[in-house]
Symmetry: C4
Subunit: 235 residues, 4 copies
């Protein structure tokens, strides 16, 4: 049970970072983590203030969405998270917010183009925006359909190469190898979305940076030839 307890603490911490990074108003955001060896997901309870959260409030569900631990209702976005974890085996954490700059792009129905090296350092191409859901999808299993349209939008690349998506008319989802990395990508996405907005206002519909720059910046930070940061510490 200790691994699950560790994950609950990581998910608690990750949720608490959302107001710290000014990514959420009121309770508009949630972070989850997955423990694949046990087939369990841990997620924030629905509609509870970040300040009031304790580790025991974290809700544990299995990958079919049945509640296994916790007295609280899980986030209403739980089915979306589950679709992504089931489809993409490399995901360890997912973050959903209504952070204002990323949400403005999502509401506009526009992908965020890579307009500079800040973007390229973290996202290896545009942050895509899904199509609108159909009325049938909205009236059906809405949160599950939201997950499915994300999967449809990403196609089948490595989801960690561009660890973010905008859901049309809704807002961003980001992810990573663990819950903290999912929040880290949410912070970066918000900053990138803000700068892309102002760049387009100055130079409307400017094209993306060239592929060579995307390659250079992305591989400075990722993969075997990365040279940004410090080497992993030996233990």
């Amino acid at each position: 049970m200790s691994e699950l307890q560790d994950l609950k603490e990581a998910v608690l911490l990750a949720n608490r970072l959302l107001p710290h990074h000014r990514l959420v108003t009121l309770t508009w955001g949630n972070v989850s983590g997955v423990l694949r060896s046990q087939g369990m997901m841990v997620i924030k309870p629905s509609g509870v203030d970040y300040d009031a959260l304790t580790v025991d409030d974290m809700v544990v569900v299995d990958l079919d969405g049945h509640r296994v631990e916790g007295d609280r209702n899980p986030s209403s976005d739980t089915p979306t998270h589950l679709v992504l974890y089931r489809h993409f085996s490399t995901l360890g954490g997912i973050c959903h917010t209504h952070s204002p700059w990323a949400t403005s792009w999502a509401q506009a129905g526009l992908a965020i183009p890579p307009l500079g090296t800040t973007h390229a350092d973290h996202f290896y191409g545009a942050v895509p925006c899904t199509r609108r859901l159909s009325p049938d999808e909205i009236q059906g299993a809405y949160e599950r359909e939201t997950g499915k349209v994300i999967v449809e939008t990403l196609g089948n690349p490595d989801p960690l190469a561009v660890p973010a998506v905008l859901v049309h008319g809704h807002g961003p989802f980001t992810w990573g190898r663990d819950p903290l990395e999912a929040v880290h990508h949410a912070v970066i996405l918000e900053e990138v979305a803000k700068m892309a907005y102002h760049t387009w206002m100055l130079n409307p519909h400017l094209a993306s940076v060239p592929r060579s720059l995307l390659d250079r910046h992305y591989y400075r930070k990722h993969g075997p030839n990365a040279y940004y940061g410090q080497p992993p510490e030996a233990s």
Copy 2:
């Protein structure tokens, strides 16, 4: 008298939340609450700093606007609040601010269209903007006329379905079942107004989200089939 004292404390707290949520500059905002069983309204005194307010500064007026308790002048917007309480029997609290994003839409004379789920979660349709007041209305009982043009703009739906309005060339009023909920809706309105602005700058005059999405998000949080948040606690 205890119910009235409770309301005075709730109105004090609600007013103090205005600078906390960065909704006001200087003293530009006020919150009131109503105690219908006694026919009394409690409201902030006019032009007093939020930090300096005490519960005894709260002004009690009857629903005709006669001061019943308190040494202070009530907010100059008192007649507007009273028109709304008299017309809409479900209102328990009203909040008026000059919060910058909502006020910018009000000054532009534009309703805030529902451009995403953040809006739809809380406002079941556009946040309307009143017509301009006529010179006669401005020169007459101006604050009362402001209330009347709000009533005219809303027509006769449930005012809690879209608990906000923009007064043309002035700013927002929001309301709720109690003073805290009125402030809560002011926080949400400001965030929604900010994101709608940036969305329209990216995608000018984008149309509203479809009715199916409005329905889905509004009824996730409201009504008998709501499934957002936690069930009410048994006592």
Copy 3:
């Protein structure tokens, strides 16, 4: 000497409010006050951090600009302040900042039109913008010429009716009956400038609110029939 000491303390406090209200970056702003009975002006020293200021740093000059007290150089804008005090006898305090929203309008060379009641509550008409200074004026007694172009722009109305001006390509000056009121008007101007900007982005070149609204809001707060705020306290 006690009146002068009081003024030095008021000017110190007023200068310290500039960073508190986020009106200044680094040392880009100054406040002065005048003691007409002694023909003295007190002003911030040039280029000193607000946090480091003490009452003894305040510089006293006579109305011709000769230093009478203090070891420091007075603000380089001193000649501008002096022109305004000499021309307008009702001014008791002047504030100059490079606050970003007001400065953006000044750089654009545009008056801030009255687009709503927030403006009308405090400024009885547009906040004017001066013409550009000529090369001769710039190369001559530049700071004095800045004061003269403000006087030229205002014409001869009551300067307290619209207690603010934008200097073309430079930034705002505000004033009041004392140094604190000058800062108060700088706070309001910045908020009004921000909202006017966003209003024009939503509704380009929207016209001013009608005269009847300007009258109503201005006289709610000013003159014998004012009814905003609390009555002056008896002493």
Copy 4:
């Protein structure tokens, strides 16, 4: 060794000022300083949080980029800094950030025109933007090529007259006579970039202020006839 220790402490302090002035998100910025008498540069380690930095984390490299002191990898931008120190002998400190307003201009590929006196007080003309790097330059010694395109852009004027540049599609570099002055110029650049953006939105593609105003404001603060601030203190 004491001069080098002093520089390490100055570089530490300068790096810590970056989050204080809200110029950086996460670890997106670095400051360096140079000790020309010893042929050494001190720079922030790569990818380390500002809060966690200690003086012993500072990395010392010689002007060819060989690490002389410190266990950490130096900032990945080290080769850019070195090109600038080698080319411009008056530079004592360099600062690189992804501050959002300056970066938005850099992403737009636009020089920041001098639109007001805030700009002219500190930058004696437009803040230039480099050309895009070619694919060959990007695929080659990328960080060194970044330094070279800055040198190419500046030509051979005094680099302290306009102590800032925008790298196309990347972000700003600023510099000064020491590390603190480099950060000081980064603060100013960000504020100037923000105001220039809003000025152009109000008045698209407004031309620069006239040369006479640039001269007047720049020489108020710089050179033998400067009259802003306090005289240097005798010791």
